[in-house]
């Protein structure tokens, strides 16, 4: 069953000080489908629109076009309150995303206090339950965020995201600010919680090994567009798009000779999203680009059991 369906989603930002109506197409025609109890990994370089996608799904940015369905319900016909209770978010930097002036229990139950009528005692009880659930001791209820370690803080962030019992969690680089040993603990916690609470995750990251570990499906984004989207074992095992291949090559996680010997990027700089290249957005850096790539944009097509936008066969 789908819990989140996105169809041709577009989020454009107007360019400030430009009267020609120019826009930055931060998210450009994105479609995907998230099933219950599944994890969708979204990877791409910084500036490719991952965070804009997260904000658009959360309703912090308004979409320019396209549809978002929360289960059966269209996001246009859903109240803000319903949305908060359906989808919640965990942020990258756990220290920055927790108010340093609030105690742990206040942080965790803030969404509850805003959206429901609850007494202080109920809040503290609920916070204690959630802390237990994410592996924190309830002695920490009255501590401030700086008194916790990095991993514990991220557990607090996860507890806060769970307090409204959402169906979908957006995890925006949830482990990239943490030590490697702590990363594993948090990832395992997320897997546990998914099983216990039937959660679905959108896992945004630039760390391919982490996505490979946690995601059932993976979507590779480039300048707001989809490069490749399909089951993780296919994307990581038999990548098709040259961009996916260069990402895997630079992450040093693939053992395949093809990936290791794949040619380098032509240009290390990401083109400006303000003035994207013609044709296929990737052709300026693509080591295997042909002439047609600079003139025509490839459509997103089903190739080898996944969706790809590339002219290669």
């Amino acid at each position: 069953m789908s819990v989140l369906t996105v169809e041709h989603l577009k989020t454009y930002y107007p360019v400030i000080g430009n009267r020609d109506g120019d826009v930055v197409k931060a998210v450009n025609n994105l479609s995907f489908d998230l099933k219950e109890n599944q994890t969708l990994g979204i990877v791409g370089e910084s500036g490719c629109g991952k965070s804009t996608l997260a904000k658009t799904l959360m309703g912090l940015e308004s979409k320019t076009d396209g549809k978002i369905f929360f289960g059966e319900k269209d996001s246009d016909n859903i109240s803000a309150k319903e949305r908060y209770q359906y989808i919640q978010m965990v942020f990258q930097d756990p220290l920055d995303s927790l108010n340093p002036r609030k105690k742990a229990w206040e942080i965790i139950t803030d969404p509850l206090m805003i959206n429901k009528k609850v007494s202080k005692n109920e809040c503290i009880k609920k916070a204690a339950e959630l802390m237990e659930l994410v592996g924190l001791r309830s002695e920490g209820l009255h501590k401030y965020p700086h008194m916790f370690s990095g991993g514990q803080r991220q557990r607090l962030g996860i507890a806060r995201a769970l307090v409204l019992n959402p169906k979908v969690l957006i995890l925006d680089e949830p482990v990239s600010a943490l030590d490697v040993s702590i990363q594993a603990q948090i990832l395992n916690l997320l897997k546990d919680l998914q099983r216990k609470m039937k959660l679905s995750y959108i896992f945004i990251s630039h760390d391919l090994s982490v996505v490979n570990y946690i995601a059932d499906e993976t979507l590779v984004m480039y300048l707001g567009r989809v490069c490749e989207y399909g089951p993780s074992e296919l994307i990581f095992g038999k990548p098709f798009h040259p961009y996916t291949k260069t990402l895997l090559k630079s992450a040093h996680i693939s053992n395949s000779e093809e990936i290791k010997n794949f040619p380098k990027l032509l240009d290390t700089e990401l083109p400006s999203p303000l003035n994207p290249p013609s044709g296929c957005f990737f052709h300026t850096r693509c080591p295997v680009a042909k002439e047609e790539c600079s003139n025509f944009a490839p459509m997103l097509e089903e190739k080898k059991e996944r969706q790809v936008s590339c002219f290669l066969e």
């Binding site: 919640q88 805003i114 309830s138 002695e139």
Partner: protein, 299 residues
């Protein structure tokens, strides 16, 4: 998930929190000294009629400009001497504590509430709202503060209430600018965005997320504003535009004694020392409070 009974959850103990705060605060000796000074003055102000040996406006025409008791010619009946009209300086100082603290607190209350609200709104909403508020603040700041106070008083007339209003208006810009700068910094942080993701209203975000993170600087500014308010009111009194004689206000006592600065120096020194002590106490206390309230500095 384990079922938790209410006994498992640590209860909030207000007394414990207070003890914790005090243990942090008392580490700073200067702050404790400041607090002692302030408490002393508050005590004096509250019990002025009991503590003062005479009424503040009671005139003893047979003992004009007597020096304090330890000087030659001083009398133990008037411990700190008398002024040019034969009023007991000690009694006037004690009653003056009342006036000065009342005036200072009123000024700070008004200017903090207005200044902070304007700063929060300007910083949080930005854009046109910000421009309008900050240009208004710029206009206020374009005038030298005492000149602006004089302008306001000449429009609404002299007197204690009007002096409070005038000085409060003059003090608004420093609060607004301080809070706005703080808000601009804090609102970029992720916990503000997080609050939006679960539907916190702008007012809630401003008051519960942003404002507590501005408290440290705001508290220091409040204590400074209190001392500044006391000084500005004294200056207005000096110019005859503030609190009107014979109200025993320290600023007025200071200015009244100006002609006698060489012949009777205690008349200038004593009110000056009182102002100094209150201002010093407030500043020391403010610093200590800031350190004790900042959770990051706690061990």
């Amino acid at each position: 998930m384990n079922d938790l009974t209410s006994e498992d959850i640590p209860k909030i103990n207000q007394l414990y929190l207070l003890k914790e705060f005090w243990s942090h605060f008392s580490e700073n000796k200067g702050a404790v000294f400041g607090l002692t000074l302030i408490i002393t003055f508050i005590f004096i102000a509250l019990f002025a009629p009991v503590l003062a040996p005479y009424g503040p406006s009671q005139i003893f025409s047979d003992s004009l400009t007597l020096p304090p008791f330890w000087s030659e010619g001083g009398s133990s009946a008037y411990l700190l001497g008398t002024d040019d009209l034969g009023r007991d300086v000690l009694s006037r100082l004690i009653h003056g504590a009342r006036v000065s603290l009342f005036v200072g607190v009123s000024i700070v209350l008004i200017s903090t509430i207005i200044g902070t609200s304007l700063g929060l709104i300007a910083g949080y909403f930005g854009g046109k709202v910000d421009s309008v508020i900050m240009r208004f603040i710029d206009i206020l700041m374009a005038y030298p503060s005492i000149l602006l106070a004089i302008i306001v008083v000449s429009v609404i007339g002299p007197g204690m209430t009007n002096a409070i209003i005038a000085v409060a208006i003059v003090n608004i810009p420093s609060f607004t600018r301080l809070v706005r700068a703080n808000v601009l910094e804090v609102k970029k942080r992720q916990f503000v965005m997080a609050a939006k993701t679960f539907g916190a209203s702008p007012v809630r975000i401003m008051l519960k997320e942003i404002l507590p993170n501005c408290m440290a600087t705001l508290i220091v500014q409040t204590t400074l504003g209190l001392s500044e308010g006391i000084l500005s009111t004294a200056a207005l009194g000096f110019l005859g535009l503030g609190v009107q004689p014979p109200t025993p206000e320290w600023g007025i006592m200071l200015s009244d004694a100006r002609p006698y600065i060489e012949s009777s120096p205690w008349l200038v020194t004593l009110p000056g020392l009182c102002i100094l002590a209150v201002v010093l106490g407030l500043n020391l206390f403010g610093d200590g409070l800031r350190d004790a309230l900042d959770p990051k500095l706690k061990r």
